[in-house]
């Protein structure tokens, strides 16, 4: 990509393209947008301290309206990342630059909009918009923090397998279990069948995030079969041993899937807060602005 970049611009650029050495969106252009954001916050805070807002700082003062307008424009622009991310480009307005600005300008809203409120909060639509914005920002901060470490953990948890292979492994073990369980009596086959009916993907969001396996039928079947092995005799012991071996392998395969599900859920869950709440925030902003002018 770097070579392409150089070729396309006719060698005008002397530096290596972005692909040459990885620089994440947080460090993009040696924290350019972080600096912009800090400067913005500093100016806003300084103005807050210097401007005499009578009778007290509030969103209704001249300063308040200025900060409110700035905040609104920033929020609308930040929302556009949802459109922008679907078109990857490079260069000055690359998606990476855009994302970097999204993160740092989004964080600056904490200062800008809080100063806009003049620290006046209550049970009304205005504070609703503020609360929603803070939730969106908090979920965004969470998102950045998980993006920092979890993708590597996700990759490690796969143990060189593709996701279909993980599923396939369990399915094959299920087939083998079915065969191996043929000699077992009715009660024992029931235990095995519970393991066969287990659907690890049916776990809901909370169970995925917690990685809980307390209700895992395979684990229970394993424990039960081990108990029965001690009581069994003759040919049955052999069959049970085979089943136990298979259940142990299935249990390990399931644990891998569960770990993978957990990391993936941790990685994705914030977007289910961040995105819908962003739209709720825009709706609340509409109510906030219309109400201000309605009762002008």
């Amino acid at each position: 990509m770097g070579a392409l970049e150089v070729a396309r611009t006719g060698g005008a650029r002397t530096q290596l393209g972005e692909g040459a050495s990885h620089e994440g969106f947080l460090r993009h252009k040696s924290f350019f947008w972080l600096k912009v954001s800090v400067a913005l916050c500093a100016v806003a805070t300084l103005a807050y301290l210097l401007v005499d807002q009578q009778p007290r700082p509030s969103g209704g003062s001249f300063y308040g309206y200025a900060m409110g307008t700035l905040g609104l424009l920033l929020i609308l622009w930040l929302t556009l990342l949802g459109l922008r991310k679907r078109a990857m480009t490079s260069g000055r307005w690359s998606l990476k630059a855009w994302t970097s600005a999204h993160v740092y300008l989004g964080l600056s809203l904490v200062v800008i909009v809080t100063l806009h409120t003049g620290f006046q909060l209550g049970w009304n639509v205005h504070s609703l918009a503020y609360g929603l914005m803070m939730l969106v920002i908090l979920s965004g901060i969470y998102g950045i923090s998980v993006y920092h470490g979890l993708p590597r953990a996700l990759s490690n948890s796969r143990a060189e397998m593709t996701r279909p292979q993980m599923i396939d492994t369990v399915m094959k073990l299920d087939r083998q279990l079915q065969n191996a369980a043929q000699p077992l009596d009715q009660a024992e086959t029931l235990i095995v069948r519970r393991s066969l009916d287990d659907k690890p993907f049916r776990a809901g969001t909370l169970r995925r995030i917690s990685g809980a396996n307390a209700r895992c039928p395979t684990m229970r079947a394993l424990a039960e079969m081990r108990r029965r092995k001690a009581l069994a005799s003759g040919q049955e012991v052999e069959a049970i041993e085979t089943v136990i071996g298979l259940l142990e392998r299935k249990s390990a395969a399931l644990a891998r899937i569960r770990k993978h599900l957990q990391i993936k859920a941790l990685l994705e869950v914030w977007l289910y807060v961040h995105v819908p709440l962003t739209f709720a925030l825009i709706a609340a902003l509409v109510a906030h602005i219309v109400s201000v002018f309605f009762y002008w």
Binding site: L128, R163, F201, A203, Y272, A280, S291, F294, Y295
Partner: protein
């Protein structure tokens, strides 16, 4: 010719297991029957599902009647595979891959693999299975629901409440309970307006129109404006660049300047209005003369260094019984015509007859070694000012008008009624022959030594009688040395008449009508600190302190003096006669009280309303 069959399966870990076998001949049978060359253990496969024959460089595939195979993606009953290119045959869950065979080779390689049911589908769906998207409601759906919820509660519901209120005639009924448009309230109303919290429309009358003064005046009917709006507009200071930008923005957003709520902001919580900053006044008043040349108000920028000398309203003269008031600067050393003769210095002296008398009467009236201010000047009930002195309450403690004792009761001349004085004296002398007193009567009045010194007073009247004429006594009372003449201006009667009149008397209770002064906070000082009464020889002295006296303690808004005094300490924007709003808020926190004033008439003297003054000067 031979078929080389490789049966491929996978271990649980995904390892590939290959079992090769060889079938000699040109025919290959495929089915569930173990006797078939390729044995497929799938219930969906028939016992003898298909046969493959090698004929001249191609393979002929024939499927049992009524069944099909998928040959290179096409479902067929009968088909061919070119050996040179090879081909895939799918039977139920098994894939038979015939490898391309070069011409001349006598071995045809066939891979047999069980493709798990819909593995291709699994590849695509596994991403989704692992993703939260498989168990969470879609972001788009959640977003839409939240948007509808927020707009419904935060916008539609309050608008509905507003419309309902406007359609209903009986608005008062709804004030008692929560209204949805309160969700729009950005903060609590001030304590004074707390009762309006459920009635947004009390102030927000029309949608998308800023709150207008008419809404305020609907309740505040008797509030004073600051002045003629036209003159107020002319007095406005020149706007700076930033100021005119702000003004233009406000006008663009339909916010006319100069509305009540510019100062009386609302929805800021139950807090008290902040003190009016000095620049709020000085913006116009610092250079008012230049903008309104006809104004009678001097330029003011700061009490400490840019405030004109006080201009009290004094009684400048009389028009018959009515006092004529005039506002005059203390710098012009004004004099006042109250109609009374009263030297303060004599009454406050420590070494004259007055002091002597004070000592004698001290036990009865609580005087000290000499008379003090408080012996005559009584505070108004609120303590702000002093009541006018009156003959009955104050002067008569020493200045008795008694002239006869009837039993245990002293007869006195009637104060304030010269006609009655004349009549009483005539009646007293009618048909009597009384011995003359050793001294001429009226002089006895000049030493009003004792209230119990009846005999001396009675002798005064007797002395008059010795002259044999009531007329003489009457003339004596109204003449120099007489009881009336000492304190009052006597209007002489026409020649041959005894129709004496007394000039009217009045005392202003309040001199500064545009500014507020309260004596209570100044009680730490003695009266003489500000009022030079002990040097005043005449009642015409206006003993008000000048601004220099005030400035010894009071400075402007920012000052090194002990008391920082912005305009609002003495003046109100909404001018009235009461306490400035700032002072009320700071101290009284209650109902605005005006000073109770005793009128001059009540004190027994004719005279004008001492509170009446000229119209407020602009």
């Amino acid at each position: 010719m031979a078929f080389l069959i490789r049966t491929i399966s996978h271990s649980a870990e995904g390892r590939e297991i290959v079992r090769p076998s060889r079938v000699e001949g040109d025919r290959l049978t495929i089915g569930r029957d173990p006797a078939c060359n390729i044995h497929l253990t799938d219930l969906a496969v028939a016992l003898r599902h298909a046969t493959v024959d090698h004929r001249a460089g191609r393979l002929r595939v024939q499927v049992e009647q009524g069944l099909t195979v998928e040959l290179n993606g096409h479902k067929l009953n009968l088909g061919h595979i070119e050996l040179a290119t090879g081909g895939d045959m799918l039977i139920a869950s098994h894939l038979l891959r015939f490898m391309p065979t070069p011409a001349g080779s006598d071995e045809i390689a066939v891979d047999v693999e069980r493709v798990s049911e819909g593995e291709a589908k699994l590849d695509k769906s596994s991403e989704r299975l692992f993703s939260l998207a498989s168990v969470m409601p879609s972001k788009r759906l959640t977003a839409w629901l939240l948007v509808l919820l927020v707009l419904g509660v935060g916008l539609a519901w309050p608008i509905q409440a507003f419309r309902e209120r406007h359609q209903r005639q009986d608005r008062a009924a709804s004030f008692a309970r929560f209204q949805a448009d309160e969700l729009w309230s950005s903060g609590h109303l001030s304590a004074a307006h707390a009762r309006l919290q459920h009635d947004c429309s009390a102030c927000h009358v029309k949608p998308f129109e800023s709150v207008r003064d008419t809404a305020c005046l609907a309740c505040h009917k008797d509030i004073h404006g600051h002045g003629d709006p036209y003159r107020l507009a002319r007095a406005q200071p020149e706007l700076s660049g930033w100021g005119s930008f702000q003004l233009r923005v406000k006008q663009a957003f339909n916010l006319p300047p100069g509305r009540c709520i510019d100062c009386h902001t609302e929805h800021q919580g139950p807090q008290v209005m902040p003190p009016t900053p000095q620049h709020f006044c000085s913006d116009c008043h610092a250079d008012l003369k230049a903008k309104l040349p006809d104004t009678r108000i001097g330029n003011v920028a700061d009490f400490g260094h840019a405030h004109p000398e006080f201009r009290p309203v004094v009684i400048a003269g009389w028009n018959g019984p009515r006092p004529l008031f005039r506002q005059v600067s203390l710098a012009a050393a004004p004099s006042e015509d109250s109609g009374l003769k009263f030297p303060h210095a004599m009454h406050l002296s420590h070494g004259n007859g007055v002091a002597q008398m004070a000592r004698r009467l001290g036990s009865a009236y609580g005087f000290g070694e000499a008379l003090a201010c408080r012996d005559c000047h009584v505070r108004t009930p609120d303590g702000v000012r002093f009541q006018p002195v009156s003959m009955k309450e104050n002067c008569s403690m020493c200045h008795s008008l008694a002239f006869e004792r009837v039993g245990g009761t002293l007869r006195t001349l009637r104060h304030g009624e010269p006609d009655q004085v004349v009549a009483d004296l005539r009646e007293y002398y009618r048909g009597r022959s009384l011995p003359a007193p050793p001294s001429f009567g009226p002089l006895a009045r000049r030493r009003p030594g004792s209230a119990v010194d009846y005999e001396e007073r009675v002798r005064f009247a007797a002395g008059a009688a010795a002259a044999g004429s009531a007329d003489r006594a009457i003339r004596a009372v109204f003449s120099p040395g007489g009881a009336c003449y000492d304190c009052h201006r006597v209007i002489a009667p026409p020649p041959g008449s005894l129709d004496y009149r007394i000039a009217p008397v009045a005392f202003p209770v309040r001199y500064m009508h545009k500014g507020w002064f309260d004596h209570r906070p100044h009680a730490t000082e003695s009266c003489q600190t500000c009022h030079q009464a002990e040097h005043s020889q005449s009642a015409s002295d206006v003993m008000l302190p000048g601004i220099a006296t005030c400035r010894s303690c009071h400075g402007g808004e920012r000052t090194s003096k002990p008391v920082a005094s912005s305009c609002a300490m003495c003046h109100d924007y909404h001018m009235d006669r009461g306490v400035p709003a700032m002072v009320i808020r700071q101290r009284v926190r209650g109902k605005q009280r005006d000073t109770a004033v005793l009128r001059a008439e009540e004190a027994g003297m004719p005279g004008g309303d001492s509170r009446a003054g000229p119209d407020p000067a602009r």
